[in-house]
Symmetry: C2
Subunit: 189 residues, 2 copies
DNA sequence: CGACGATACGGAACAGCGTTCCGTTTAGCA
DNA sequence: TGCTAAACGGAACGCTGTTCCGTATCGTCG
């Protein structure tokens, strides 16, 4: 859905919204979603008033960051699919996805807080990721490089769960690689 | 377990500890367990330093209040058993217990927070309440006023769950009464 | 019974937070 | 180029938890 809701957006407003999203993403990843507001505004090079104009509720900002990162991760797929062969593209995207999930520690508490701003997030997660992974998986299967009896939903959830523990960063990488090797196992060729 | 751990406690210290427990219980019931510290100290007529000396961590105070109220509720049973006939005593105590549970809204979040100060609370809950309810139930069953095939554990949990909804205060009362009528249903006499 | 040491008290003071408000700047259009 | 509406930034406010230390009180011992 575009931003064509009536009025035009001023360029600086757009710039600051983007800066806030980027800064918040970084801060949330390091200090959790309860991080001080000033830390975010400082990193974005923006006043407190600006933050509150764009995101009146803290949950608005959190939800927006989440959506933004979901989009970034999902949108990375086409480029990978164009540049690499199917199974390599699949593998690289799963690594990318694992990295995304790794930054979402502490967000699950917010998700279960009952705040209506979060209600649509899980659905958005599935809606964006399932088609992407489904496409990569199908391409790799068609090329005969991976088996074709794996449900995208299962693979998505498995990868997400793989990165839940303490994660030394290297650990998640290796586990995802192992998962991909599992996909190759029953391949046609 | 008593307070016989070594030294003697000064009288004013004991008085203030009690005042803080009483004030905190009231404030927690009205404003939740995240209520401002000053609200508690003010109601207790005590300085902030006094609170922090007796309860260095907020979780210490919450746990102490919880234990204190569990004790108060459990200790109310003997008097009821002495003053009323068995089934009436049972009914009145269940009402009392329902009232106790009703003030514990918002505490469940704290319980599941992983703070080690709360770990022992569920066990304490069962350890104090199960014998009490068991005793009242057995007495009523022996008098032939209620059936004898009801597990105290089930009844305790059921009563607690009954008071979970919006509770107009009257609602919980009526539901508990209904539960007691259910107990009478298969009585011997 | 009076004095003394230990213990506990209270609240001012501090640091940090979210949020608001408004004088100033800037973007975009005529 | 000038004008207006929109957006900006950060000082200021009120509220928070927590610490600190001069003062008051308790309980004991001579």
């Amino acid at each position: 859905m575009g931003d064509e809701t009536g009025k035009r957006v001023r360029a600086d407003a757009q710039r600051n919204t983007d800066a806030l999203l980027a800064a918040a993403a970084e801060v949330f990843a390091t200090s959790g979603v309860d991080a001080p507001v000033r830390q975010i505004t400082a990193k974005a090079g923006v006043g407190a008033g600006t933050l509150y104009r764009h995101f009146p509720q803290r949950s608005d900002l959190i939800a927006a960051v989440f959506r933004h990162e979901v989009d970034a991760c999902a949108d990375a797929a086409p480029a990978l699919a164009a540049r690499y062969e199917p199974v390599e593209a699949l593998s690289r995207w799963l690594q990318r996805f694992a990295g995304f999930v790794g930054t979402k520690r502490g967000l699950s508490a917010a998700l279960h807080s009952g705040d209506p701003a979060y209600e649509s997030l899980p659905a958005y997660f599935d809606q964006r990721f399932l088609p992407v992974l489904g496409g990569l998986l199908e391409a790799a299967a068609k090329a005969g490089e991976v088996r074709s009896d794996v449900d995208p939903y299962d693979l998505l959830r498995a990868t997400a769960n793989l990165t839940l523990p303490g994660d030394d960063d290297g650990h998640a990488r290796r586990m995802v690689a192992l998962l991909v090797d599992g996909l190759r196992y029953g391949a046609e060729k």
